[in-house]
Amino acid sequence: MARGAQAPYSYAMITELGHFALSLAFCVAIFQMIVPLIGANKRWAGWMAVAEPAASTQFILTAFAFGALMWAFITSDFSLRLVVLNSHSLKPMLYKISGTWGNHEGSMLLWVLIVSLFGAMAAWFGGNLPPTLRARVLAIQSAIAVAFFAFILFTSNPFLRVAVPPFDGQDLNPLLQDPGLAFHPPFLYLGYVGLSMTFSFAVAALIEGRVDAAWGRWVRPWTLAAWVFLTIGIALGSWWAYYELGWGGFWFWDPVENASFMPWLLAAALLHSAIVVEKRESLKSWTILLAILAFGFSLIGTFIVRSGLLTSVHAFANDPERGVFILLIMAFFMGGALTLFALRASAMESKGVFSVVSRESALLLNNILLAVACFVVFIGTMWPLLAEMFFDRKLSVGPPFFNAAFTPFMVLLGLVLPIGSAMPWKRAQISRAVRPLRYVFVLALAIGGLAFAMQTGKSLLGPVGMFLGAWLVMGTVVDMMQRTGRGGDRLGRLMRLPRADWGKAVAHSGLGVTMAGIAGLTAWSVDDIRVAQIDVQFEVGSYTLTLTDVEQVQGPNFVSTMGEVILAQDGEQIAVLTPEKRFYPVAEMPTTEAAIDYDLARDVYVVIGDGQTNGGWAVRTYIKPMTNWIWIGCALMALGGLLSLSDRRFRVAAGAGKTARPVPAE
């Protein structure tokens, strides 16, 4: 059974090689942090040039270490402490692999792997960067890697052996044994850690003392990529929570979720402000600050999750070493970057001139709304801690606060977005921007009004969401049509619009679709809790459900109580649903597997509970309108980001680098 215990010696060695590669990567990172930085300062070409091979080497070594750990999980090598604690020989292969990052040590190794991946990518694709800037970017990126290599090697070493290997492991938490969650952390980390690249660019620019349009162009693809990954990661996590946790919630305003949401908000702000830097050479110091803060929030997120500080004060005390270490990393990078910012920011004055009503101002308003929204989430997340420390009050800040305090910013954002994005650079007139939009505004209001008329006595949330969704999607269509001008071949011109324009349109519509989905689900969800007798029909909304059977089923590493529910509407059968209640004997944990009939208009979500003493089973049924819109919208946002990322100007930027070579500030 435990194959690893009998694995040949040559395979068992891989763990030691992985450990060695990790230590070596640490040394390479230290070298890469110091030498190019000195080289850039002294203008020694040779010293600067080592940054690239060092970045590649660092990445390859880290990837090898990560691969070695993954190998240990795949072969169920129970001589490794980490594998014993988080795996089991009977676990399906996918979850053996995802088990590599399904724990603290492995996930930190993934973290640093992605740091070095981004560093290596900057080395491979950064040929157009001026040599000093490139050397500095790679050095800063490596400094971040050094901190986390040290963190892993000194406090969270994944390669520790156990003296007496057990016959089998303790299994991964069954809730995490799910395809959605297997890929949630890697995407989230690609996003989180991708922001380290923008941070490195910002700090390098501060050291250079120069931020220009070219810098804005270089930093934008990295921000876009990080934001796209964050979007996918957050959406996967939320989708997983929706179908796995058994009551169809998709967002809980949990500190751990907020930790990923705050960098997302700031990255969204950053990728808009970087446009202003690129096109108009304004908002420079603000953009630099945003780049620093966005990564700062990634670090805060890592700290929150890894220290468990906000989960419970005691979890922090249980493992103070790790928490303090991350806190020190955070203090060093944020303190250093912000000090540098304070010293150098004044040198980066804006060049662009624009009137109060202009696209520049509109994008600034976008940034204000996103940044303040992020601040609200931050305050709400930290408040229980602050209140306990300073006011001696033990209190909770839960979803009702965030819904009330955060939502208005998103409503405002949705309201002004189509108008702002229709404005030209430099000087705009509100009346001219609004005129083409007036019909769709009225139409969107009508859709909101219709929603209001159809619901009776419910909150305004639903109608407002429908209005915003319609307004954003239709406003985007109008914006695209405006760009094609008048006369023939408008379709041809539409197709030839730059990818960035298409990206913007798709992402903004996606936001509208997500907003409508969230509002629809939150406002119009229906639920029903009852004891269902076998073969006795019951009604929920316009649907008829019948529990026809409940049986015990044996899975690979669990036993399941599986119900069979027939879902019908107007006498016609729509689906047969099989909600399950599973029990994982190794982890001694039950899970709920809801059965969902997916549909664009609504999901029917059925959960089976306990058998009742006097016959029948507890069954809960939820009708959840528009749920899938939330994730379709997220997918559209991510797709928009990718389209924008493939825009010609990022691909041809190789030529731009030569003319935009910065002159040193000193």
């Binding site: 952390p185 996590g237 751990v256 109060v356 209140a387 910013f409 944990m589 039950p590 509970g609």
Partner: protein, 150 residues
């Protein structure tokens, strides 16, 4: 692994929240109970309301709340009754009393500040001289000459 900790602490037994036997026969009263439950924290869980939680303590609180409502308490009285026994920690929706006004005002205050600063910046850009009105430096002049020659 953002979710890992969350799961371990939160959904140790993610089976059922409100059980069928808890539901009050009066639908209006039950609807009120559900609404209030959504704002009350399950004390042994993390960031989960008693409406969602399957912990036995959450069940006790749900039953207690329903008892109070059946006894004729208003929503506020029922919540006050529970807060008096379990502390303000059970409120997922923080009050506005004491220092909490800072929490609630943080967003609007920050927004006014940001809009103020942002407006000041925009005004300064509107008044600023366009760069093309500033003559080129000698260095830039030479660079331009280079570029034009090629």
């Amino acid at each position: 692994m953002k979710k890992l900790l969350l799961i371990i602490l939160l959904w140790a037994t993610p089976l059922a929240a409100v059980e069928p036997d808890e539901i009050l026969s009066d639908p209006a009263l039950e609807a009120r109970a559900r609404e209030i439950s959504k704002g009350l924290r399950c004390l042994v869980c993390r960031n989960e309301s008693i409406d969602e939680s399957s912990a036995s303590l959450a069940r006790d609180l749900r039953l207690l709340l329903r008892e109070r409502l059946v006894a004729g308490d208003s929503d506020e009285e029922a919540v006050d009754f529970i807060v008096a026994r379990y502390g303000e920690y059970v409120l997922l929706n923080p009050t506005t009393t004491g220092a909490n006004w800072l929490l609630w005002a943080a967003g609007p205050l920050m927004l006014s500040l940001a809009v103020g600063v942002g407006f000041g910046y925009v005004r300064s850009r509107a008044r600023a001289k366009a760069p093309d009105q500033v003559p080129l430096s000698a260095e830039e002049e030479a660079k331009l000459h280079d570029i034009l020659k090629n």
